[in-house]
Symmetry: C2
Subunit: 202 residues, 2 copies
């Protein structure tokens, strides 16, 4: 398999962590790929019209995106314990948590674009405030209901940890864990996993 | 089930079309909910920290989001033909198409925010151009490979049609079908389905 790849992307990291946890990482060839919203990568656009990483080309030549679809595909390729539980309440809990992690990350990315890429005289405070609130409420909800993060590793926990890790890497919001000791302890434990250590953004 | 609802949202429409196609619509109570990125709906934030519609509360009191998770949940509640094929190539084709439809819709929404909500003196042409290109490449890819849209109805086709329907409703990009007779014929056929007619944005 070939993966359009950027080590700084939280969604690429999510895919690589899933690949490592599922024992599939050595079947993935990483293809370094630059994406910026103001500099369209039209070469990538031939495979993925959205011009986003990660984009996976399977051994059969099928192109898959986005990270949720790729993670689900990888999880279908092995016979070990699944990162996406196959049915029942555990499945919906994991997928909802993934959506929360991805949504917080999307909001963080929009804040970063607004406060770094966009020309300074075109920035809109209400936009930054609104997206920031999504991230902060997401973190608050996890601290208030730590059982959301409990249990065996799922793609949901991976999505949350990749989002937090990326926001730390980009230093967008200051200390994400102020007043959140439970969330911090959980994140510190996640960060000890070999799959997380092997995918620290560079 | 209760659904935080706005008739103008393409993602709410996607969920309602899935509910109608699966025979579940009469089990869903619609709760009118206003969302705007510059006017955070903190009441909705108590259920969904991302403050987005659709947000579903199940009969068991679990909160589910986003539209992908809700559509998959609804598709699990009935024993008829599934809108998300359960395995194999058909599954990945449908989920990839859903990701493409959602991604095109996300890009269209960002263009609309930029060109209507954002104060006029803070708009950035490169941003609009980059997001517009994602939509146009997505439409081009569907015209070039109409087999992507062929076969029994899936959540992928629904996502594409809701995105196109919403862009027409908001008149963001002019004629989406210029030079795309195959895509137009497909969309016209989709628009004839009772589930689409019952969910036209108002």
């Amino acid at each position: 398999m070939k993966l359009a790849y950027s080590s700084a992307s939280p969604y690429v990291r999510k895919v690589m962590i899933v690949a490592l946890e599922c024992g599939l990482a050595d079947r993935i060839e990483k293809v370094p790929t630059a994406v910026r919203p103001d500099q369209p990568n039209t070469a990538l656009g031939r495979d993925n019209p959205l011009m986003k990483v990660p984009t996976l080309t399977t051994d059969g030549g099928e192109v898959l995106f986005d990270s949720r679809v790729i993670c689900a595909y990888l999880d279908s390729l092995h016979s070990g314990r699944k990162l996406i539980p196959e049915a029942g309440g555990a499945r919906w809990k994991a997928l909802r948590l993934e959506a929360q992690g991805d949504g917080m990350t999307d909001a963080g990315i929009l804040v970063r674009y607004e406060s770094t890429l966009r020309p300074e005289n075109l920035r809109w405070k209400e936009w930054i405030d609104g997206q920031t609130l999504k991230v902060m409420q997401g973190l608050d909800a996890l601290e208030k209901e730590p059982e959301q993060l409990a249990g065996d590793l799922t793609v949901g926990q991976i999505a949350i940890a990749c989002g937090i890790g990326w926001m730390q890497f980009r230093s967008i919001f200051g200390d994400l864990f102020a007043g959140k000791p439970k969330l911090k302890a959980w994140f510190d434990r996640m960060s000890e996993r070999p799959s997380f250590k092997a995918t620290i953004p560079a």
